[in-house]
């Protein structure tokens, strides 16, 4: 990115282009619309702060997913720290979005979604990036800080695991 004006213009363009994909990724990973919205905003805020500090970004899309991925992990940690499950069991409230805000898929795709939920985090991450947010293996590699080869292997193993889970 060049001058500050160019930086701003490019960043706003990046927002317009990738906001939905980031939101989709967060929503799919944490199943809470409000929180996904917050994480989307936080992702772009952090990305801008990085740019504003004068640092260079090679691939803005991969960089945004890297931040979003970290924010999702932070959220998982927060949920683990608070004894939410205990509260839910006791009061019957779920942290997930309510019916009108849940992602509504066809029954076939809903099965796939539930199977993805069952996957280990590292598989869930790459499958969501690849098939929900449309990232290429190269972009995923940049986003998670692994080689393209590792990503391809991980994707293959994730698909294999999903196939097994669907059969069972």
């Amino acid at each position: 990115m060049g001058s500050s004006f160019d930086k701003k213009e490019e960043f706003v363009k990046a927002y317009d282009q990738h906001a939905d994909a980031i939101f989709r990724y967060c929503h799919f990973r944490i199943s809470n619309r409000e929180l996904a919205k917050d994480l989307t905003q936080e992702t772009f805020t952090k990305a801008w702060k990085y740019i504003a500090d004068g640092k260079e970004i090679e691939n803005i899309k991969a960089f945004l997913f890297k931040i979003a991925g970290n924010l999702v992990i932070d959220e998982y940690r927060k949920v683990k720290q608070s004894s939410l499950e205990e509260l839910q069991e006791r009061d019957g409230f779920d942290v997930e979005s309510k019916d009108d805000e849940k992602i509504v898929f066809s029954s076939e795709v809903e099965r796939v979604r539930l199977v993805i939920e069952e996957l280990p985090d590292k598989y869930k991450e790459v499958i969501t990036m690849r098939y929900v947010s449309d990232l290429s293996p190269k972009e995923i590699a940049e986003a998670i800080g692994e080689s393209e080869n590792v990503v391809s292997v991980r994707l293959n193993r994730a698909v294999k695991k999903m196939r097994e889970l669907l059969r069972s």
Binding site: V12, R24, F44, S82
Partner: protein
């Protein structure tokens, strides 16, 4: 498998931010981006803008209010006009999709989010009341309001779930406040339903939300009660709460005393609630003195809920100019101008005088719409000028109502 994943990809594309949400986040980002950039010496701004912009990066919490203030002051005249709208008004979507979305972005912490969602529940209920008073509470508008109330309560509990483990007292306070708000509006809407039956279904919705939130509150209260006994700080806070609750009850009593002196059942019910709050406060004080802290917490929370419910009820009735609805029997609303009448009523001079008594005389209609009609003379002459508060739709039948009226004196 590949086919299934392609289907997932296709269906996942439907998940996206709403236009208003995307625009709201964009606005916040733009404001943040206008703060000075470390490597951007060539991008010059006016000194005034630098002062504002430099304040934007103070902290995550601090800059958004600044941003919102800028939007509202310099570009938000439409947003401000939209604030008082109700479903059916042209700018209502600006209020819910722009103003409230922006405000929700400001509410960062779960505590702030819970408070904001509770405010939205209150706002939806006020909208229902305004519409009921105007006689414009159609099924379509009721559906919008009821769905939104349900959604806001869901969002509220999502936020409270996040704070309960770390701050059970805060969670209890927030939930109790929402319960008080719902109960207060249940009272107002119940009274309004006696005038406008279209408000009845909203009353049912509010009642079911009251039950739901009360059930949820009991769970949170259990956690707070468990926590209070094991913490000296929490016990000290509880003792401080006693003073706050006592003040809230005092405020409610003061507001009740400003209402017309009347022995209607509605007024008796409200007075009884004050007695209930005082009894719960007393029980709380007693339990505090014997160090039964869990019980004291429950008693004080109950007293506070009742006191807040009454305060909200009185404020809401006053803001809608509906205090007279608490009086017994047919409500007569004397008026000289439209300003003397409840919202959406007009002061009609069309009715004939039935009283020749000097001063301020009232006539009571025996028609089924008696709550809509009041008569007053505004002079002390034997041929007083009669002024009547009526709903605009009632003016065509008002002469008939007056023919049946009987005279009473104040």
């Amino acid at each position: 498998m590949k086919e299934l994943l392609n289907k997932l990809n296709k269906e996942a594309r439907k998940v996206s931010l709403r236009d208003s949400e995307k625009a709201a986040i964009r606005s916040v980002l733009l404001l943040r981006m206008d703060a000075p950039i470390a490597s951007s010496g060539s991008f010059k701004k006016s000194p005034y803008w630098r002062v504002i912009a430099s304040s934007i990066y103070v902290s995550r919490r601090a800059y958004v209010p600044v941003a919102l203030a800028i939007v509202l002051i310099f570009g938000g005249s439409v947003s401000l006009v939209a604030e008082g709208t109700v479903p059916g008004d042209p700018l209502y979507s600006v209020k819910t999709s722009v103003n409230e979305e922006l405000k929700s972005l400001i509410a960062m912490s779960p505590e702030a989010k819970a408070q904001f969602k509770a405010e939205l529940v209150n706002e939806r209920l006020v909208e229902a009341e305004k519409l009921a008073v105007r006689g414009e509470l159609t099924q379509e508008k009721k559906d919008i309001i009821e769905q939104n109330i349900d959604k806001h309560v869901d969002e509220f509990t999502d936020s409270v779930n996040q704070i309960t483990a770390a701050n059970s007292q805060g969670a209890l306070d927030a939930t109790s406040d929402l319960e008080s708000t719902l109960k207060a509006h249940e009272t107002v809407l119940t009274h309004l339903a006696t005038v406008n039956p279209s408000a009845e279904s909203i009353v049912n919705t509010v009642q079911s939300e009251v039950s739901r939130v009360a059930g949820y509150r009991e769970g949170v209260e259990g956690k707070a009660a468990d926590a209070v006994a094991s913490s000296s700080t929490k016990v000290a806070n509880l003792e401080g709460n006693y003073q706050v609750v006592a003040k809230n009850i005092k405020d409610a009593k003061a507001l009740l005393s400003t209402l017309p002196n009347n022995d209607s059942q509605k007024m008796k019910d409200l007075a009884k609630k004050i007695d209930d709050a005082e009894l719960a406060l007393l029980a709380g004080k007693t339990n505090l003195s014997v160090q039964a802290y869990a019980e004291a917490l429950r008693d004080l929370a109950k007293a506070n809920r009742t006191a807040k419910e009454l305060n909200i009820t009185f404020h809401t009735l006053a803001s809608l100019n509906l205090n007279d609805i608490l009086l017994s029997g047919p409500v007569e609303i004397p008026c000289a101008t439209d300003n003397d009448c409840p919202l959406a009523y007009i002061c009609s001079p069309a009715l004939a005088a039935t009283s020749t008594l000097p001063g301020f005389s009232l006539a009571t209609s025996t028609a089924s719409t008696t709550l809509d009609v009041g008569i007053a003379s505004t002079t002390a002459t034997s041929t007083p000028h009669i002024s009547v508060c009526v709903l605009p739709s009632a003016t065509s039948t008002s002469a008939t109502s007056t023919d049946k009226a009987t005279t009473t004196t104040e």
